[in-house]
Amino acid sequence: MPTTNGQPAPVIEVVEAGFTYRGRSAPTLERISCTINPGDRVGLLGPNGSGKSTLISLMLGAQSPSAGTIRIAGMAPRAAAKKGRIASVTQKCLAELNFPISVRQVVSMPQNNRLPLWKRPSAESQARIDHALALTGADQFADDPIGALSGGQLQRALIARALATDPAVLILDEPLVGVDPIGQEHFAKMIDHIHAAESAERDPASALAIVIVSHDLRAIAATCDRVLCLSRTIHEHASAEGLTPEVLAEIFHHDVAGIAPHHPDCGCHH
């Protein structure tokens, strides 16, 4: 596992967190504890209804845990999200894609949204935006209208937007739903490239951590070093290799056809 040099301050620290939706008796999340360090590439695996989206919303500060604590880059989640220290790209893009703006304008939105129109963004901010566009390959269509992009290009643009805020951790929620095998391969290469570039350029204690949330082990095995299996609580695995259908069935208490690869080995060797 890269860049855990000494004892870097964790980018995500969840301690005994729980969450129960109002009006429900059973908790959605219970006694969740996990630590994600700078430079980690972690998969968060779980079937539908396992609490993945709830845990992500707690990490992003959209909701507060009913029990326990969550710290993001040493801050409360909401404060970290506002400062761009944690950024996410959601499965479903809710943006108004008919908007008459370019990809570059979209990527610059989070950084410059408080700047008056008569002020130009700083050189540092421009450099960060150019870097994020180059990292994701979105620089090739940076001046195209956002509405003219394909699904894969839009995903790159939105990942670039998240990276442009210089986050400590990037969360990608179900990034491979509806993506064909070639698209999945491109995605895995892009994640490798982003991870390698950000690890090489930054000091190890501030290397970018990436969390990939998925219900599909194949998506996680191709891109992550460590797997957190979520089923109301967390079961941690050092790699996807040991997650055979039998192990997954035990964790998730039911058939895992939708999660595990068809062949026990194939998920780990992309």
């Binding site: 992003l60 008919n98 908007f99 304008q105 939105m109 949204n113 408080r114 509405g147 805020t165």
Partner: protein, 305 residues
């Protein structure tokens, strides 16, 4: 309100009407781009109908013009806008249902209070005034606008409103764009989305209020939809969209005012018909542009709910 749409130029201060029209057309054109992109056309309609409730309250208080009239009608519009926003945020009710309820409630309040005001005036033996204040012509002016009612005060209100809107747009343009493009992400990244939303609702209410006398309650919303809809069919870069929107709005105003003067027809109807003609023309124009430049225009905007 003493004019008749059948003879709209009698007593009309045309300079003030034109000046007010230019301010309102520019203001509406700027906002209409956001209204169309954010699918807020129905909200605009709800707010404009809420204005009728305000007119009713003002009538009961015996105020039919001047700063207090603006203040009362404006307050009701802003309250209706904030009420719709609040009902939507609570998610207990669908957005269009919330607007539908506020819309009919305000209209019903307006009709009831205007009728009470008329009754009170009759009871005071002021038959002539009572007859005039609620006559068919008065309603027509309220709903479709009139040149004869527009004076210097209206021009000043519209001018100040435009200046405030331009200043706010320049200061908060980037946050407004982020909110309009992707509200959820804007909120997650700490953009002031709540303030932008409330600000836009108030701007819509104020714009409808300022447009009401010239183009009327029913047609005020048309000015908040059609210029933006035209521009978004013809351009895909924001500066061009805003320029075309303002240009279309001013062109339709000029054609509408000239037609109203030439054919003695209500201004609101004339302006909106001119806008509809412009919008119809954008269809062949966008096709010619697409085939000429190989640059597809934006797809047709989905209708607002």
């Amino acid at each position: 309100m003493h004019g008749s749409p059948a003879t709209p130029l009698e007593n009309a201060d045309l300079t003030m009407a034109i000046l007010t029209g230019v301010f309102i057309a520019t203001q509406c054109a700027l906002l209409s781009v956001l209204v169309v992109l954010k699918r807020m056309a129905f909200i605009g309609q709800g707010i404009s109908h809420a204005a009728l409730g305000g007119v009713g309250i003002a009538a009961v208080l015996g105020i039919m013009d001047g700063p207090w009239y603006f203040l009362i009608v404006g307050a009701v519009c802003v309250l209706a806008a904030l009420l719709v926003g609040w009902m939507q945020d609570r998610k207990a009710i669908a957005s269009d249902t919330a607007i539908g309820i506020v819309l009919v409630a305000s209209m019903a309040l307006g009709v009831t209070l205007l009728s009470i005001a008329e009754g009170a005036a009759e009871a005071a033996h002021d038959h002539a005034h009572a007859h005039e204040s609620a006559s068919g012509h008065e309603w027509e002016e309220l709903l479709f606008g009139s040149l004869t009612d527009v004076g210097m005060f209206d021009a000043i209100v519209a001018g100040v409103l435009l200046l405030i809107t331009l200043a706010l747009a320049l200061r908060f343009g980037r946050a407004i764009l982020f909110w309009a493009f992707d509200e959820r992400s804007a909120c997650a990244f700490g953009a002031p989305t709540g303030a932008v939303q409330v600000g836009l609702m108030i701007a819509l209410a104020a714009t409808i209020l300022a447009s009401m006398k010239l183009v009327g309650v029913i047609l005020a919303t048309a000015l908040l939809v059609l210029p933006g809809a035209c521009a978004l069919r013809l351009a895909n870069q924001l500066p061009a969209v805003l320029t075309i929107s303002i240009g279309t709005s001013l062109l339709a105003l000029a054609v509408g005012l000239a037609s109203a003067a030439a054919f003695t027809i209500p201004v609101g109807g004339a302006v909106v018909l001119a806008l509809v003609v412009c919008y119809t023309l954008t269809w062949p124009l966008s096709r010619i542009k697409a085939s000429g430049a190989g640059d597809p225009p934006n797809p047709p905007q989905r209708t607002s709910t």
